[in-house]
């Protein structure tokens, strides 16, 4: 008789811990072939609000860390992911299909993407900030600052590379994030959360909600303590995206709109995902004896 | 209370022109050299890396014990608790009679008599908080009555709080005159003036409060009540040690310094002593000029003392 394996429970990731949904609900996750894989937690509106609280609580500490420190932490996430290759390859293959080799390439890209973003922590200021030569005896300096708590709708299809591409720019710039994972393919997000929990990432910097979007995203879009929202995961659903953008206007959240179709994640991301969540502060000071 | 009383607080010094008005006092205090936060914190941290000889460490532990004002300031204090505390202050380690006594016990005014009775002729002093400790928010008459009450009950030392509201609004002369009045009410008792540095927030304010309190007649300047975070820190104490050092340079008079609250381990205590030694000088390495306001610190000092003597750690049991 062959050995029976101990199957994993897939829970939410909020404030550095792994709670079940406070609603007690779960939902069925299938693999690419339609077979049952697991019951994942079905996040509720309250879970979403709790996640925002956790993200807000973590923001002052995370944004106050040196850029060097943040880059070290994000680099460490990459280290731990690399160390867990087989697990991620399996998770990607399961949800997205394809071979182990193609899933391996996806993982390579995700890790390299993390490393790319890690290196931005202490450089984005040098590239987007500068002194301004105003016409007067004043020292004038513009510097970027993190906007605060960001809600992100993770891509529906690219459940690991796309996920990382949406989360990394937000945290490397000093923001904290609540991510609504791909509803059909949430499992890599949970495994990713486990990596975060063991990579020196303070609790609450990244929070992961699994489940269908109807319960969580509307709450996030209208939440008054969320500073920005990334609607990438709503690519191809313009009506929903518009409704959320309307809700976001209540406190003038910075909105990254849903693209028409899911982006090519292999392409150079550019600076946009970082500058979207950075404010620019300009300070004047007279120059005189 | 007029400012002429200030002229006799530290014999030989006449601060009368500085304290003649709020404006002149402000000019003096704001004319003191500023404190750069980053630089002060870096210096304090650097001093914390010094390592002292084992023989010096044994002496340092005993010195630290002798500098402790063993404190209990809880709403739920009882005579029984105070008696036990006082007994411990006299014989901190019942198993070892060579262990020195602490400098003082520190209690609320209504428990001074109990402490005094237990301490007897042991030489351990009774310090009492007063002036509507810890907030200081009461009428001046009430605060002075609080002081007289504690002194009448036998307090050797009075730990007063300054009016932080007045200080932060810039009413320096008011703060000054209050300290002068309290000093008068102390009679022979020694006065410690608590700044509540956590509420003052800036090191510039700590420097100004130091000079103000010293000019008003403080025997000791003290960081905190222990009821507000942050309480004592190395950089705040550094600024106060610089102030008493400078004061002696100018006038020849010494004033004591007491960090209180948040000093829990022997390692912490030794960092403070190193700082005293390098910043103010070895003359301050004496319970007459430096105290620790603490409760749990004593236990760790005793543990380390036992370890140095026997080579073994004992636990809280």
């Amino acid at each position: 008789m062959s050995r029976i394996d101990v199957r994993k429970t897939y829970k939410l990731f909020i404030g550095g811990e792994f709670p079940r949904s406070e609603s007690g609900h779960s939902y069925v996750v299938h693999d690419q072939q339609g077979r049952f894989v697991a019951n994942a937690a079905l996040a509720s509106r309250k879970d979403a609000r709790d996640a925002v609280s956790a993200a807000r609580k973590a923001f002052p500490g995370w944004s106050a860390r040196t850029a060097y420190n943040r880059s070290q932490v994000v680099y460490r996430i990459a280290e731990v992911m690399e160390d867990r290759r087989p697990q991620f390859v399996e998770a990607v293959r399961q949800g997205e299909g394809g071979t182990a080799a193609s899933a391996g390439k996806v993982l390579d890209a995700a890790i390299d993407r993390l490393v790319w973003y890690a290196g931005w922590a202490d450089k984005i200021t040098q590239v987007t900030g500068n002194a301004n030569p105003v016409a007067g005896p004043y020292f004038n300096l513009s510097t970027p600052e993190p906007t605060g708590v960001v809600a992100a709708v993770a891509p529906a299809d690219s459940s690991l590379l796309g996920l990382v591409s949406v989360v990394a720019p937000v945290i490397v710039t000093g923001n904290t994030v609540v991510v609504a994972a791909s509803p059909e393919r949430p499992l890599p997000a949970v495994t990713f959360a486990e990596v975060l929990a063991t990579s020196d990432v303070p609790g609450g910097v990244v929070n992961v909600l699994t489940g269908t979007l109807d319960r969580t995203v509307a709450t996030l879009a209208s939440h008054m303590d969320v500073n920005a929202i990334d609607l990438t995961g709503l690519a191809g659903d313009p009506e929903q995206a518009q409704a959320l953008e309307v809700a976001a206007a209540d406190n003038l959240k910075r909105v990254r709109r849903a693209p028409a179709a899911e982006p090519d994640w292999a392409a150079d991301p550019g600076l946009g995902r970082m500058t979207d969540v950075l404010e620019t502060k300009t300070v004047w000071h007279p120059i005189g004896v | 209370m007029t400012s002429t009383a200030a002229a006799t607080t530290h014999p030989g010094n006449d601060w009368a022109d500085v304290t003649a008005s709020d404006a002149s006092l402000r000019r003096f205090l704001h004319g003191l050299p500023g404190v750069d936060q980053v630089g002060a914190e870096a210096r304090a941290a650097g001093l914390g890396t010094r390592s002292i000889k084992t023989t010096a460490k044994a002496y340092a532990i005993d010195l630290a014990i002798r500098m402790v004002d063993l404190t209990t300031l809880e709403g739920q204090d009882t005579p029984g608790k105070v008696r036990a505390l006082a007994a411990k202050a006299v014989h901190p380690d019942p198993a070892d009679p060579t262990c020195p006594s602490t400098a003082a016990v520190c209690v609320y005014p209504d428990l001074v008599a109990v402490a005094k009775e237990t301490l007897g002729s042991s030489g351990v002093k009774v310090a009492s908080v007063a002036t509507a400790f810890p907030s200081g928010r009461a009428a001046i008459d009430v605060k002075l009555a609080d002081v007289r009450d504690a002194v009448a009950a036998g307090a050797d030392e009075i730990d007063m709080v300054i009016d932080r509201g007045a200080f932060l609004s810039g009413r320096y002369l008011e703060v000054f005159e209050e300290i002068v009045a309290v000093r008068a009410a102390c009679g022979a008792a020694h006065l410690k003036v608590i700044f509540e540095s956590g509420e003052l927030q800036t090191y510039d304010n700590v420097r100004r409060a130091s000079w103000l309190a010293i000019m008003a007649g403080a025997h000791f300047i003290k960081t905190s009540t222990g009821k507000v975070q942050p309480a004592a820190t190395l950089p705040v104490t550094l600024v106060m040690l610089e102030a008493v050092r400078d004061y002696r340079e100018q006038t020849g008079q010494m004033v004591g310094v007491k960090p209180a609250g948040g000093i829990r381990t022997t390692k912490d205590a030794i960092k403070y002593l190193v700082m005293v030694n390098e910043v103010a000088g070895p003359d301050w390495l004496d319970p007459d000029w430096f105290r620790f306001g603490a409760s749990t610190l004593l236990n760790d000092l005793l543990m380390q003392r036992t370890k140095m003597q026997t080579g073994r750690y004992s636990g809280p049991d």
Partner: protein
């Protein structure tokens, strides 16, 4: 009266973490090979003990190293995608962190500087440099300086911050796709040789980094080698000028980081106790062996006496001694030669009429030692106000007005750094504008960060190291 019981125990960091070999070869094309010049000894400046025998690279050795670097550039490193280069640099950064204690102890033994500094300042910043530049390798298109490497860089570094100077040279060069041949200083080569081992541990492709030991001749051969595309030099202004002449008429790119005679300017409204710390840090940190040292104190007349009194009191608490002792503030002078120079110039200072003061201090019998020294009543005419001493010697001048301070501060062919101490923000900015110096420290001194560009005006050199600006020197 309390007795002063606070004797500081010797708290020596253990040497056992370090394994110094009896002799070292050159690191060329990924391996240690013999050198064909005259090998020499590296000694510990605090004890004068011989540490190891070091190979000298002769012209043929230099040629082999450059050839190895060229091959590695054309075949491997120059065509490797930035994101792969980045990961090599991240590996190196990590290994430096992992072997941090070993590197700190070795640096203190070989150079003479206190373990407190190597452990808390030098080595952490070395690791941070590699981390910072690792992160540029895959995003050069955002640098504003181009994306194409130059080729082979010949780099010569001094003995005052051996591993840190190596990091400042190698990290940006490699990030930009160049390969390097680096010559460490002959009086402090050991951490560079340990770095070579770290390159091996990181599986860095052979020839990307080559370390060739030697003295002046080796350095000359390297910078004048025809197949070197870029020359980077940190050292004396005299040698810097010689290099500038040598590369004239060639296509070689050059960056120079040379000497300094920085003014540390203290105004009457300065936060005095922190200003004193800044003065002390400015000239006595690293025994004053710092190109950007605040070697001239310009103090406003109205506070001059007070500042000097506080300064002397503070200097009296500095501890000179065994570099491996965690309580040591000031270590040994790096070599007998340097000690002789410091003594010579100090004697000249006295002869020229400046007032000389040092705190009483017991100096060890063996090794090269010089007590912290302060000269007062110094004028611009004195040699000690004009020439770089490169030791723990401070010259004190006074001024009355800001413009006088600026004029005196700028009255030097050097222009590396300056310090300004005042509580007034607008004055900081005004002084910063007026001072002809590449780095201005306001209410602080001797602060370094991989993100912050460092380099001089005038005869302190040209080019910048650190930050985005530090990439320019290594890209086409």
């Amino acid at each position: 009266m309390a007795k002063n019981v606070f004797e500081y125990a010797p708290a020596p960091e253990s040497r056992s973490v370090v394994d110094i070999k009896p002799s070292y070869g050159l690191f060329v094309n990924g391996e240690f090979v013999d050198g064909h010049g005259h090998s020499f000894k590296s000694i510990s400046p605090s004890t004068e003990e011989v540490l190891a025998e070091i190979a000298e690279a002769d012209e043929a050795d230099v040629d082999l190293a450059v050839k190895a670097a060229r091959r590695a550039h054309s075949r491997v490193w120059g065509r490797m995608p930035g994101k792969e280069r980045a990961k090599y640099l991240f590996r190196i950064a990590r290994i430096i962190q992992e072997r941090g204690r070993e590197l700190a102890v070795l640096e203190s033994i070989d150079n003479g500087k206190p373990i407190k500094e190597t452990r808390d300042v030098d080595i952490p910043i070395v690791a941070a440099h590699f981390f910072y530049y690792a992160g540029w390798a895959d995003k050069l298109e955002y640098s504003g300086h181009g994306t194409e490497s130059l080729g082979v860089a010949g780099q010569v570094i001094p003995w005052n911050f051996p591993l840190l100077m190596l990091a400042w040279k190698i990290a940006p060069a490699l990030a930009c796709g160049n390969t390097v041949v680096l010559k460490p200083a002959e009086t402090a080569p050991l951490t560079a040789l340990l770095f070579a081992e770290i390159c091996q541990q990181a599986d860095l492709p052979a020839g990307v980094v080559n370390i060739i030991t030697g003295a002046g001749d080796t350095g000359r051969a390297l910078v004048s080698h025809p197949d070197v595309d870029k020359v980077a030099f940190t050292g004396s202004t005299e040698v810097g000028k010689a290099i500038a002449r040598a590369v004239a008429g060639t296509d070689k790119r050059v960056t120079l980081e040379l000497g300094g005679k920085a003014a540390n300017i203290v105004f009457d409204d300065a936060p005095l106790d922190q200003a004193v710390e800044g003065i002390v840090n400015g000239i006595f940190f690293n025994q004053g062996h710092v190109c950007c040292a605040g070697s001239r104190l310009l103090v406003q007349e109205s506070v001059a006496d007070e500042v000097l009194a506080r300064l002397k009191r503070r200097v009296t608490t500095l501890r000179i001694g065994d570099p491996l002792d965690k309580n040591t503030d000031i270590g040994a002078i790096n070599s007998a030669e340097q000690l002789a120079k410091i003594r010579e110039l100090s004697d000249i200072g006295e002869q020229e009429g400046a007032g000389r003061w040092s705190p009483p201090c017991e100096l060890p019998d063996h090794g090269f030692w010089f007590p912290p020294t302060i000269f007062t009543n110094v004028t611009q005419a004195h040699r000690i106000a004009r020439e770089e001493i490169f030791g723990p010697v401070l010259s004190v001048l006074t001024f009355r007005t800001p413009s006088e301070a600026v004029e005196k501060a700028n009255n030097t062919p050097y222009g590396l750094s300056a310090g300004v101490w005042t509580d007034k923000g607008s004055r900081i900015l005004k002084m910063a504008n007026a001072l002809r110096a590449g780095v201005v420290w306001a209410n602080t001194f001797n602060k370094f960060d991989p993100t912050s560009p460092f380099g001089g005006y005038k005869e302190s050199g040209y080019g910048r190291e650190g930050g985005r600006h530090g990439l320019e020197g290594y890209l086409k």
